[in-house]
């Protein structure tokens, strides 16, 4: 009982210290307001404002109708270029897409000779190239088909496909980017706050002071963990309500409480990671370098930036040990798909297991690192 109260008071001290640390407070506010706002509204991950050119050697009503089918915001206004100059334009990085319409295209369509349109795609424009190619193919074939059916050279297809985008009918990217940004901030900030609090205590010599009292390394670490986790949890909850739902107008399909519960589980591992890194780093500067090397990959591989399915098989298995992956996946299920505990419990279990393992390791290391310091 006495121990619990010590941990409680130490944690409270932690919060009072944080309140007086202007740099960390500024970082906290920025991370949960402006930063996710900018990320959510900034880069659209699918095709946006793509540059496209037509090398039209047909110049028929059909070919002109094709060029007129590309609109903002997906595409920039179509630029007509000299036939054959597409490659040079692309080398200079002026266009991502160049559509080459061969001479006599419309005539060939009418005659059922199945002419060919070439779409040059700059494959180095990673995200835009693949999806953009699909867009362009669909736009072109829809327009050509409409023309052909009208000209009675084409039968309507016997089977129509109806594509439905579940959970996100409008293919809105803001919701996704906003939530992923928020999750990213939670990861960064929790680790940095906890680790920095730990190292500050060591650099100021206060840790020895604490250890000379009837306190264990365990008590000190747990106090830091609960206090920093609580701060981040509150900040995340506020950000979810006021920034995500309020400013960005994001709808949360599932239960907010469940999302925060998952967040709390994750914070447990992220704070433990902060303690762990603090035991490795000898100084604040080393800690800062380490954090960059560890958190960046954890975020990149969590499935937020790019789908897990894109990773090589062996890496997909490897990333199972990243708590960030389970948190990302559970959060997406709850926020986007309205999943309940009956769906996300395996992810929660993973997080709890990984968190407990990491926490135990960090505490053991922490005790050792304190003891072996001169």
């Amino acid at each position: 009982m006495r121990r619990v109260s010590c941990i409680f008071w130490l944690g409270l001290k932690e919060m009072m210290s944080l309140r007086r640390d202007w740099v960390m407070m500024a970082l906290l506010v920025w991370s949960f307001t402006l930063s996710p706002l900018m990320e959510a509204t900034g880069v659209a991950s699918s095709v946006n404002n793509a540059s496209i050119a037509f090398a039209d050697e047909d110049n028929s009503p059909l070919s002109r109708a094709l060029a007129a089918e590309f609109f903002a915001p997906e595409f920039q206004p179509v630029v007509q270029i000299e036939p054959g100059s597409g490659a040079a334009h692309m080398d200079a990085g002026r266009f991502i897409f160049v559509v080459a319409v061969p001479p006599g295209f419309e005539k060939d369509v009418r005659a059922g000779r199945i002419p060919e349109i070439q779409v040059l795609i700059d494959a180095t424009a990673m995200e835009q190239a693949g999806i953009g190619a699909n867009y362009i193919t669909n736009i072109l074939s829809a327009e050509i088909n409409r023309f052909a059916i009208g000209a009675d050279v084409l039968a309507p297809p016997p089977v129509e496909i109806i594509l439905r985008s579940a959970f996100n009918p409008n293919r809105d990217t803001v919701r996704f980017a906003g939530i992923v940004a928020l999750i990213g901030q939670i990861m960064w900030l929790t680790t940095i706050l906890t680790g920095a609090a730990m190292i500050r205590e060591r650099e100021h010599g206060t840790i020895e002071h604490l250890l000379a009292m009837p306190l264990d390394p365990f008590d000190i670490a747990v106090a830091k963990i609960w206090a920093n986790a609580a701060v981040v949890l509150i900040a995340a909850g506020l950000s979810l309500t006021f920034v995500m739902q309020g400013a960005l107008g994001i709808t949360i399909s599932g239960s907010k409480t469940l999302f925060l519960l998952g967040t709390a589980l994750f914070l447990f591992t992220a704070t433990a990671l902060g303690v762990f890194l603090a035991t490795i780093a000898r100084s604040m500067a080393q800690f800062a370098l380490l954090v960059m090397l560890i958190i960046l990959p954890m975020l990149m591989l969590s499935g937020g930036e790019t789908p897990i399915e894109g990773q090589p098989e062996w890496l997909q298995v490897g990333t199972l040990i990243l708590p960030s992956r389970h948190y990302m996946s559970a959060s997406q299920a709850i926020v986007f798909k309205g999943a309940g505990i009956e769906t996300v419990w395996p992810e929660f279990l993973w997080m709890a297991l990984l968190g407990a393992t990491l926490l135990t390791t960090s505490l053991l290391r922490f005790r050792k690192s304190v003891v072996h310091e001169s």
Binding site: I121, A123, N134, I161, M213, P297, V370
Partner: protein, 898 residues
């Protein structure tokens, strides 16, 4: 002594210096004689260091004038001219030296800063090392030297260029008495050799000032006295008493008298038997024995690093002993025993309470941790007794040092411990506050029977202890009451006793003035290049010896390259899908096998109902659900139009759209097959042929691998560069840049050169990984790529310099540089969004950002197969950034401390 008669005296005229609201120097005017040993005395925080910093030009003068070596120091031209004649050793053991460099390397670095040729350098270093007795340790790292040796090395580095003015800021604080005595002997010998040499020195040990030619007693930014030491002392017992009298402007208070001990209990409270502690192969504490009785004040006297703190930590259970045993109240010290720690009050070396909490909050926190029953009462009582009542709501960080120490003591005794362990509790505190502190200790010991174990390096404090133990290099050399110790060595003081014990333990090294005769003309006409290279060489050695920075420098980019390239693959395949086949005919099976047979999709067990499909999408088990209506086969056979419902998991927009694209494509293929089989009217009228240029198979690795170096080669080199500059500022070695003839460009470029090399090695490493690990061939011309990469890393390291000049700490430099290099690179350089798709302002920023050009260059050379012609414009653009960033960095770098 008439200072004014000497032409090159130092004249300080109405100098005021402020740090925000705090006034460090208050309209100070002084005339100091040249060619003399001039001492500034007074406790911490009276303005000594500030004044010395201003005199050497390390700090920028705010108001007033200072004449140094026949000219005003505030005049930049004069300051640069006299720079080579000044040597400055700042406060703190080895603060301006480099811990990762050996003794010799440190000396070589300073020699190069003053443009000495190799022959001259070797002669001087040999002379200095042998004169100071450091010669046997020339290969030892500076960080591993003892305090006394660090100070000797600092002196050698200061003397390497034959200065006319030597400025030493508290050179002997924390050094053992023997080393201190040697240090002053060395200074004396040097002054005999060079009678014109002026030495300005500050010290907190007032007794040292006895032998100075001229002293200035300072308090609160003013001079209380200036003149000869004997004039200051006058009738007083010693200089400290005289100072106390000056400060109090009244009668001398004198140290409080030692009250007799109330009770001597036969049973010892603290016992150490053969107590030993090793750190690796270094023995910090070597078989220490002592016994401390109840109510006794036991003093531990020794220099910094002699093992005092380590011994104390073993007694508190903070450190386990390697051998031997320590016991408290007859029970062995157990690190895990909470009960035992309730009996101890511990006050560690530096002020170690929470500066961000108020006095009251600090007291309350500790009261709560010890679960004291009568919390508020106890806090009030302590506040009263320790004179803290008027400060209860002040932040601890804002308290004067003396009151901080009282707060520390109050916190240490809040739980009424029976034993107090105090590790150098009074260093830096002024004499009056120290007396008050000792009065409290006496009261605790005599009235409450608290056993007090206190360490100090002040002889005056040791004299007040009941018993004293001399510690040196991990061993206890002697123990007894102060009177016994003095008598045993037939010394006249405790200090004398300590010195003779030390001399007996370890024969002193002989010191003499260095004998330097330089044959031939002094070299050094190429000073600027030599200085730049001196910084470059030193930086290289330092990075190579710092494990974390080294790993970050060479492994960081490789690790992140692996993660990014494997992690950010945008080719997704083997996505799982499920089918709700309500038709169950050959046609529907054909449709399903079309999807299942593609490399994009992997089938999972078929669905029973539409609800199940939704549930599995929700759980993320499948990314696609295909629903075929009951009459699918019949309608198809009858030629009636029918439809397929494909529901895609759109939660991740990018993935959703990719899946939609795949399904639509497979659907078209199915239609084509159908048309072929039936021979009906064609369903295809034109063919749309996508051609992925540069990367026919559209493998994202081929796009990813050449793009990644653009971000990695800005982030990591810029961060490393910024940290290295911020580090000098944080550790204090930047002083060498302030007070030596180094220019801003020499400093910046010298530090930059190794990082350009490191970054270039990284470029080669990443290019190698791209080709050999990720199998992306270099199709274009390697020469323009190699040139462009060099210009790029020049630009990115310069960018790091620029950010570092604007940040104050290493942590701030790391995060600020990381954010300020990653954000524009990701947003505006075309990494995610090609530059051609950026709009307005974003495009302008992109065109002013080096990564845009390097991205185009690297991708162009690798995947687009471009050569000189197409890449020349990128190279030209890149060539502008390095010089521009360096120029701005040099302009914003301060050449003096504020």
């Amino acid at each position: 002594m008439n200072a004014r008669a000497n032409p090159s005296s130092f004249r300080i005229n109405r100098v005021t210096h402020r740090y925000r609201k705090h006034v460090a120097l208050d309209a100070l005017s002084l005339d100091l004689p040249a060619g003399k040993l001039v001492g500034f005395i007074g406790p911490d925080g009276v303005g000594k260091s500030t004044l010395l910093g201003l005199i050497t030009g390390a700090k920028k003068l705010q108001t007033g004038t200072i004449t140094v070596l026949d000219g005003p120091i505030e005049d930049t031209r004069h300051r640069r001219r006299i720079c080579p004649a000044i040597a400055f050793m700042p406060q703190g053991l080895g603060r301006n030296l480099y811990a990762e460099l050996s003794v010799r390397e440190n000396l070589e670095f300073f020699s190069r800063l003053f443009g000495q040729g190799e022959a001259e350098r070797d002669t001087r270093i040999a002379a200095l090392l042998s004169a100071t007795g450091l010669a046997p340790f020339e290969d030892r790292l500076m960080g591993k030297l003892s305090g006394g040796m660090k100070q000797k090395l600092g002196l050698c580095c200061a003397l390497i260029h034959d200065p006319k003015l030597l400025v030493l800021d508290e050179p002997t604080t924390g050094v053992d008495p023997l080393s201190r005595r040697q240090f002053w002997a060395l200074i004396e010998a040097i002054r005999l050799e060079n009678p014109e040499l002026s030495v300005l020195v500050s010290t907190a040990y007032m007794e040292e000032a006895q032998s100075f030619d001229w002293i200035i007693a300072m308090d609160a930014g003013r001079a209380l006295f200036q003149g000869k030491p004997e004039d200051l002392r006058g009738q007083a017992k010693d200089l400290e008493a005289a100072y106390r009298r000056l400060q109090a402007r009244g009668e001398p208070q004198g140290a409080p008298d030692q009250a007799p001990m109330v009770e001597i209990d036969a049973s010892p409270v603290i016992t150490a038997r053969g107590l030993t502690r090793r750190f690796g192969d270094f023995t910090a504490v070597d078989h220490v024995d002592f016994e401390i009785k109840r109510g006794e004040i036991f003093g531990f006297l020794g220099s910094n690093g002699c093992g005092k703190s380590t011994t104390m930590k073993m007694l508190t259970g903070l450190l386990p002993a390697s051998a031997g045993e320590a016991s408290l109240f007859g029970r062995p010290v157990d690190a895990h025993s909470r009960e035992m720690r309730r009996e101890i009050g511990y006050m560690s070396q530096a002020f170690s309470l929470y500066g961000e909490l108020t006095v009251y909050q600090n007291l309350r926190l500790h009261a709560r941790i010890f679960a004291i029953a009568d919390q508020e009462l106890r806090i009030d009582e302590l506040a009263d007794r320790f004179g803290l009542s008027t400060h209860m709501d002040t932040l601890a960080a804002n308290l004067p040092l003396g009151i901080k120490q009282r707060l520390s003591l109050a916190v240490a005794v809040i739980h009424r411990p029976r034993v107090l362990i105090l590790d150098e509790p009074t260093s830096g505190v002024d004499p009056e506050a120290r007396d008050a502190f000792w009065a409290l200790l006496l009261e605790l010991s005599r009235k409450e029977g608290v056993t007090i174990f206190v360490s100090t390096h002040f002889m005056g404090e040791a004299e007040r202890c009941d018993r004293v133990s001399f510690m040196h290099a991990g061993r206890v050399l002697a123990e007894g009451t102060p009177e016994e110790l003095i008598a045993a060595d037939q010394a006249d003081s405790l200090e004398g006793a300590f010195i003779s014990i030390l001399e007996a333990a370890e024969p002193p090294t002989q010191v003499a003035a260095p004998d330097v005769t330089i044959d031939g003309p002094k070299t050094g006409s190429w000073g600027s290049l030599s200085r730049t290279l001196a910084y470059a060489r030193r930086e290289t050695v330092e990075v190579m010896r710092d494990g974390v920075r080294l790993a970050f420098a060479f492994l960081g980019s490789a690790i992140l390259m692996l993660v990014f390239c494997f992690g950010i693959t945008l080719n997704i395949d083997e996505l799982s899908f499920a089918v709700l086949d309500l038709s169950q005919g050959p046609e529907s099976r054909a449709y399903i096998s079309e999807i299942a047979g593609s490399r994009y999709f992997e089938p999972t067990p078929p669905l029973e109902s539409a609800e199940e499909g939704r549930a599995r999408l929700k759980a993320g088990d499948v990314s696609l659900v295909v629903e075929l209506p009951p009459d699918f086969g019949r309608k198809l056979r009858a030629g009636e139009p029918t439809e397929v419902l494909a529901t895609v998991d759109g939660a991740i927009p990018f993935k959703g759209e990719t899946v939609e694209g795949y399904v639509a494509g497979l659907h078209q293929t199915f239609l084509g097959m159908l048309a072929q089989d039936s021979g009906a009217k064609p369903t295809e009228i034109a063919r749309i042929e996508p051609r992925f240029r540069y990367n026919q198979s559209f493998e994202s690795i081929a796009a990813m691998a050449p793009a990644m170096p653009a971000i990695l080669l800005i982030m990591l080199p810029a961060v490393l560069m910024a940290v290295s500059v911020a580090r000098e500022r944080e550790l204090g070695s930047v002083t060498n840049f302030y007070v030596t003839p180094t220019t801003r460009f020499e400093f910046l470029i010298g530090k930059q050169l190794p990082y350009i090399a490191i970054a270039y090695v990284n470029f080669l490493l990443l290019a190698g990984m791209t080709i050999f690990l990720f199998g992306v061939p270099l199709k274009g011309d390697p020469v323009p790529l190699a040139v462009g990469a060099f210009l790029y890393v020049w630009a990115t390291t310069s960018y790091g310099l620029l950010i570092a000049t604007m940040t104050s700490s290493q942590v701030a430099a790391t995060f600020a540089t990381a954010i300020a290099s990653v954000v524009p690179t990701i947003q505006f350089s075309g990494l995610l969004q090609p530059v051609s798709t950026l709009e307005g302002g974003a495009q302008i920023i992109g065109s002013l950002w080096p990564s845009s050009y390097f991205l185009h260059l690297n991708v162009g050379a690798f995947t687009k197969g471009l050569g000189w012609e197409a890449l020349a414009s990128d190279i030209l653009a890149l060539a502008c950034f390095g010089p521009a960033f360096t120029l701005v960095a040099a302009l914003s770098l301060r050449a003096q401390e504020k």
